[in-house]
């Protein structure tokens, strides 16, 4: 059987169709095509392939890149300063980074507050020698173990600027050691399961917070690797979702933790976070309805109410330094947040955490409202008994996170 690819003209066909042959070669091939049905068929096949390749790609959200690039060019120009100025900038940057730590883990909870101290002491006492918190013992689901450890570490870190040198230092280091052991070479924290996105976001935040306070390269490297994983698992639409669900099945609850980690890293000067942050915020913005309520998978989608999602979304929009990536509906979102905060009467640690943080970040006259929310939390703290200092597992999410989650989340909200 004749092998068409052996025809000396066959390799000229794509060039012929693209107008890349010389006049002479073109004329010769045209003559050949009249006599060679195999080449005619091959040419037709190539033509169809070219046509397919030239079809427009599915449109993506297009925005003007010029402002972002010009901003980066100017930032680069500003960066070319004499060594002594750069050293001064570094000092100022470090001081600034210290201030930014407060954005994600604000130091609102007073360190001297005996109720906070009691909760922290309980967290320390509940830790296992190898640094993890036992999910079975404290009523949590095993797949959230790394995320729960990360929450506890964040709560311990929050207590002091020099937390690593204080009474919580040893517990924090052991917690971080446990998390380091959970990271695989791709950067993922823990086994791949439905808890992964939460584990990933929270552990990344813990590494970043610790790395900002002490010069331990292991934590910084772990954070960088974990951020790579977060960026790699961002869906084409910009959000994040459960690993086993269909492509582009995103939800706000998962997305906000990944965004918080990216925003934190960006504020600490990690390069390359901006595109992912902007895409993530754009997806988040797509879930906002006209009343400023943030949805779960899309606008007007509230499987568990809008209050927590709106607070979580507000926190991300408020904390990004890329103001143009923030939501045009931010005023409505904040209004919805305040309405929800005024109406909140039950204790939901997850919701109260996001509400208190978002109200604090909004910089508005919300201190009283936030204080009221914090007070509502305290009724759930065990004042006596074997779990004194911890928080009761009574909210919707305690069945997943158990007592460690409840206590750490409460400390972070206080």
């Amino acid at each position: 059987m004749h092998n068409h690819d052996e025809c000396p003209y066959a390799s000229d066909l794509p060039a012929f169709l693209q107008g890349e042959l010389s006049q002479e070669a073109r004329a010769s091939l045209e003559q050949h095509l009249k006599d060679c049905p195999a080449c005619r068929a091959a040419a037709e096949s190539h033509r169809r392939t070219i046509e397919t390749l030239r079809r427009p790609l599915p449109p993506v959200e297009s925005r003007d890149l010029a402002p972002a690039i010009l901003e980066r060019v100017q930032a680069g120009n500003r960066g070319r300063r004499p060594v002594f100025l750069r050293a001064a900038a570094l000092v100022i940057g470090l001081v600034g980074a210290g201030a930014l730590i407060g954005l994600i883990v604000p130091r609102l909870g007073t360190r001297a507050d005996p109720r906070v101290t009691a909760a922290v002491e309980w967290l320390r006492s509940a830790q296992e020698p190898d640094g993890h918190w036992d999910t079975f013992k404290w009523g949590a689901q095993k797949n959230y173990a790394p995320g729960i450890a990360a929450l506890a570490v964040l709560a311990l870190l929050k207590q002091d600027d020099n937390a690593l040198d204080g009474p919580n230092g040893d517990a924090i280091r052991r917690g971080l050691d446990y998390l380091l052991g959970q990271q695989n070479p791709e950067g993922r924290i823990g086994a791949l399961n439905s808890g992964t996105p939460y584990n990933q976001g929270l552990a990344t935040l813990a590494f970043l917070e610790a790395g900002a306070r002490a010069n331990d390269t292991r934590w910084k490297q772990a954070a960088t690797l974990a951020l790579t994983y977060i960026r790699a698992t961002q869906q084409p639409s910009g959000g994040w979702g459960y690993p086993r669900e269909a492509t582009d099945s995103c939800n706000t609850s998962i997305t906000v933790w990944q965004l918080q980690a990216l925003i934190k890293a960006d504020s600490m000067g990690q390069y390359g976070m901006q595109p992912s942050i902007e895409k993530g915020l754009a997806w988040l913005d797509s879930t906002v309805d006209e009343e400023g309520r943030v949805g779960y998978a899309r606008a007007n989608d509230f499987p568990y109410g809008y209050e927590t999602l709106t607070a979580a979304g507000a926190l991300c929009f408020l904390n990004t330094k890329y103001r143009r990536a923030s939501s045009a509906r931010l005023p409505q979102i904040l209004e919805a947040l305040r309405d929800a905060a005024r109406q909140t009467s039950d204790v939901d640690y997850y919701r109260l955490y996001f509400m208190t943080q978002a109200l604090a970040a909004s910089g508005g006259p919300d201190t009283e409202l936030a204080a009221k929310l914090r007070d509502s939390l305290l009724v759930c703290q065990a004042g006596t008994g074997e779990h004194v200092g911890s928080f009761e597992t009574q909210d919707r999410w305690s069945s997943a996170g158990g007592r460690v989650y409840a206590t750490a989340m409460a400390v972070l909200a206080l």
Binding site: S45, L53, Y229, R244, T247
Partner: protein, 177 residues
Amino acid sequence: MQERPDHELMEGTRDGDQDAFAALIRRHQTPLLNFFRRLGADNEAEDLVQDVFLRLYRYRDRYTYSAKFTTFLYTLARHVWADRWRKLQRIFRIQERARQEAAARSDGNMSRVQDRMDTLHALDQLPDKLRIVLVMSVCQGLRYGEIGEVLGIPEGTVKSRVFMAMNKLKEYFHAQP
């Protein structure tokens, strides 16, 4: 009013005219974005486009009017792609694994996986050196000679790589159910 040609905008950029630089970005950002998407960059495409223009600004003094602007631009794009390729290897591996996990573990989502058997997926199957030539030639409209300059290879090599790429795609399309 007639639009200023690329080389004039490049001269303006060299002289510190930010409007000229912004006009260049706006003119070429979408073709470049599609270029990187077709190479498989997907989520990273916008980041890569930004990097190309940052390099364009950094190397603005090296551009001479004698060179075609798109040749200069795509040479930078090619370098950005090569540099990022190494760093993105890890990310691509993770994404591929995530896709496999999603396909293997979910019953109702196979149609989505099938849906992705599109042109981008077909291009994904090609080795990088064939894909970049094919995308530059067929999708971006660069001439063979220009591609040879950008990639530093003879024009004849460009021609044979386009041919090989087309044949591989033919196999791929015919292999589809």
